[in-house]
């Protein structure tokens, strides 16, 4: 029973980073219907930017982390404005390929600038110190990640549902042309969307980096975040979040009771199952555009 509880707690803990990456994917997808495969590397370069400020320039945490978050927002703006918006006759496939290209460029930049050796990200909380609830453990960093993820989810949920900008983002996704006719500056909305998504990804990156920091650190979280987003229906923020936690728990239980070899693969088996059985995702209503 103790092991079962530990697996659930561990699943929830790891699910928080999946949730943050899933949210970042969903935000861009909601407005552009493009899964952004550069999301992981956008978070990577922002995290390494924070590392550079802390390690090489000796900035304190309270300046370096906000600076990295601002950098991530500007990066999102820049990528949307200077690359995606410039795509001629853009279609979904073309834009996906562009995001993959951006991903490779950013990864190359980080590898070139910082080298391949793993790094140690300075962080105020040790990733290896834990709280014990009875004999069930959760690390302080995981607890912080859980809290930050919950706060971001609530803020985003309220923002997207009740703010003018949030409603404009939704309108842009549902009908770009109609939104433009109604006076929404859809290009600007897209740029802001990329900025917000990059910000959320950066938060995930900053919370992953203290435990593992090397150029490939975001691959797994991105893939799991993407899996969660697909499970949740790609357009549903609460869907992606619930799916991310479910995924974390399922992975842990599968690793503990079925097969540890296939623990990581279970996420992708779930994607296949969801796409076969309920392509619109577990939590999204299937949205059909009227012709």
């Amino acid at each position: 029973m103790l092991d079962f509880l530990q697996m659930i707690v561990s699943g929830i803990a790891v699910g928080s980073t999946y949730a943050l990456m899933g949210i970042a994917m969903v935000i861009v997808y909601k407005t552009s219907e493009v899964p952004n495969f550069a999301q992981g590397e956008m978070a990577l370069i922002s995290s390494f930017f924070a590392f550079m400020l802390l390690d090489q320039y000796g900035w304190p945490y309270h300046l370096a982390f906000p600076a990295a978050l601002v950098f991530s927002i500007l990066l999102g703006f820049f990528l949307e404005y200077s690359i995606l918006r410039r795509a001629k006759e853009p279609n979904i496939l073309g834009l996906i390929v562009i995001t993959i290209g951006i991903e490779m460029i950013l990864l190359g930049l980080v590898s070139w600038k910082f080298g391949a050796d793993p790094k140690s990200m300075p962080f105020p909380i040790s990733p290896w110190e834990s709280f014990a609830i009875g004999e069930v453990f959760i690390s302080r960093l995981e607890m912080l990640t859980l809290l930050v993820a919950l706060i971001i989810m609530v803020v985003l949920f309220v923002f997207l549902r009740h703010s003018k900008l949030g409603v404009a983002m939704k309108a842009t996704q549902q009908n770009n042309i109609a939104a433009r006719i109604m006076g929404i500056r859809t290009h600007r909305i897209m740029m802001i969307t990329w900025g917000i998504s990059s910000f959320v990804g950066c938060v995930a990156g900053l919370l992953i980096a203290p435990a593992t920091m090397q150029p490939y650190m975001m691959w797994d979280p991105l893939l799991k975040g993407f899996a969660a987003a697909v499970m949740g229906g790609m357009t549903s923020l609460p869907g992606a979040v619930v799916a991310a936690y479910l995924l974390g728990i399922i992975e842990n239980l599968f690793g503990g009771y079925v097969s540890i070899e296939f623990k990581s693969a279970v996420a992708f088996a779930i994607i296949v199952l969801v796409l076969c059985i309920k392509p619109s995702g577990l939590f999204a209503r299937h949205y059909v555009k009227k012709v």
Binding site: W128, F137, S264
Partner: protein, 400 residues
């Protein structure tokens, strides 16, 4: 007319002999150069091990600066294969068939190495010092392939023997990378424990892409292991040690030489690697051995790129090719591959900056003895600041 005929004949003889001489010249060797190739991941997840190829580069440059070998300079051809066997194969083929490589040196990774083993050896091209301890290099052995890196198999046996006999551990578990590298460690641990009338209390496979180590640590903790062997990559080793600390599980961790770069491991584990015991195959970075000092001064300080660390895998790039250079020296000025093989086979008890290295006349039934290279390791323990404490002398281990 008679005189003209003589000169025509003389010219023809010269041409024939000239052609014969060219035809007989060994591939990859000219009057002034010896072409040596190596692959190594400079990008991709295995890139931290790419320093091996850069260490070799500095070493060859040092040798060239000192006059080369028998009047020839080493021309070193290194390429980035990103630890991708398809790229390894493409790069080796391209260099071999365009430039003509005399011999191949090192090469990081079992899988990339296996991808080109047949190509290289079937053409009777020597390959010295694959930068991995896989048993594939000597089992079955090949006349043209000389291992240097001690087998992972003997490293695991040495660690288990040390843990059980010297430290009295009773419950040994292993977390191993679920590939050839990890399974070498697993097989040896099982074998050594069986010899002590014991068996592993937990065998936990780790997939390369796994990041969350809690399920793995839980299995180790459930088994109540008092000694855990880590046969994984450095990132996993740090995460397992860290996650164990977070779950208040504190066995003695022991690990393979691939995770024995203690300054790096201490840095990325934020100090948690302290106390971990590892096997190693080379002198420690701060060794006062004159040869180590020389390499540091004449190779690393002069030829390494700015910021290149004098770490284990950097100078392992020197260690792995020391026997090759010795073989080239012994083969003499009239260098051919056959003479080089014979010279390599004459190496006995060679001591560079690693353990003792010996080869013998090729014997397909005695791969370990004739092509095994280094058959000894020693144990070190990680101390504060990434310093290493020597726990044992060089220990020879039999295979299998």
């Amino acid at each position: 007319m008679k005189k003209t005929g003589f000169w025509v004949l003389a010219a023809m003889v010269a041409m024939v002999f000239g052609l014969t001489s060219n035809a007989m010249a060994e591939e990859g060797v000219t009057d002034t150069e010896i072409h040596i190739g190596q692959w190594g991941p400079q990008t991709g997840p295995a890139a931290p091990w790419g320093s091996v190829a850069r260490g070799t580069d500095a070493y060859f440059k040092m040798i060239n600066a000192e006059g080369g070998i028998h009047g020839r300079k080493i021309v070193y051809h290194m390429f980035d294969d990103a630890y991708n066997p398809a790229k390894t194969m493409a790069g080796v083929k391209e260099l071999q068939e365009s430039i003509g490589i005399f011999a191949w040196a090192c090469g990081v990774g079992t899988t990339p190495g296996l991808a080109v083993r047949e190509y290289i050896t079937s053409r009777k091209i020597p390959w010295v010092g694959p930068a991995t301890g896989s048993s594939h290099w000597i089992d079955p052995p090949n006349r043209y392939l000389f291992a240097v890196y001690p087998l992972y198999y003997i490293e695991a046996k040495a660690l288990v023997r040390y843990g059980v006999e010297k430290m009295g551990f009773k419950r040994v578990a292993i977390a191993y990378l679920n590939d050839d590298y990890g399974k070498n460690g697993l097989a040896a641990a099982r074998k050594e424990l069986t010899a002590h009338g014991m068996q592993l209390v937990a065998e936990v496979p780790v997939e390369l892409k796994d990041q969350d180590m809690k399920p793995h640590v839980m299995k180790l903790r459930q088994a109540e292991a008092d000694m855990v062997l880590l046969w994984v990559v450095p990132g996993h080793a740090v995460r397992i040690v860290g996650t164990s600390a977070a779950m208040q599980f504190a066995p003695q961790f022991m690990t393979v030489s691939t995770c024995s770069d203690f300054p790096l491991m201490m840095h990325i584990s934020k100090g948690l690697f302290k106390g971990v015991i590892a096997t190693t195959f080379g002198e420690l970075p701060d060794s006062d051995l004159p040869l180590m000092q020389k390499y540091k001064k004449d190779a690393h300080e002069k030829f390494a790129a700015k910021g290149e660390r004098w770490g284990l895998f950097y100078y392992a790039g020197i260690l792995f090719v020391e026997p090759m250079v010795e073989g080239l020296k012994r083969a003499g000025r009239d260098l051919t591959r056959e003479k080089f093989i014979t010279a390599m086979e004459s190496i006995k008890g060679f001591k560079g900056i690693g353990g003792e290295i010996s080869y013998d006349i090729f014997n397909p039934n005695k791969g370990y003895e004739s092509r095994g290279g280094m058959r000894e390791v020693f144990m070190i323990q990680c101390l504060e600041g990434g310093q290493a404490k020597r726990m044992s002398d060089w220990t020879k281990i039999q295979y299998p």
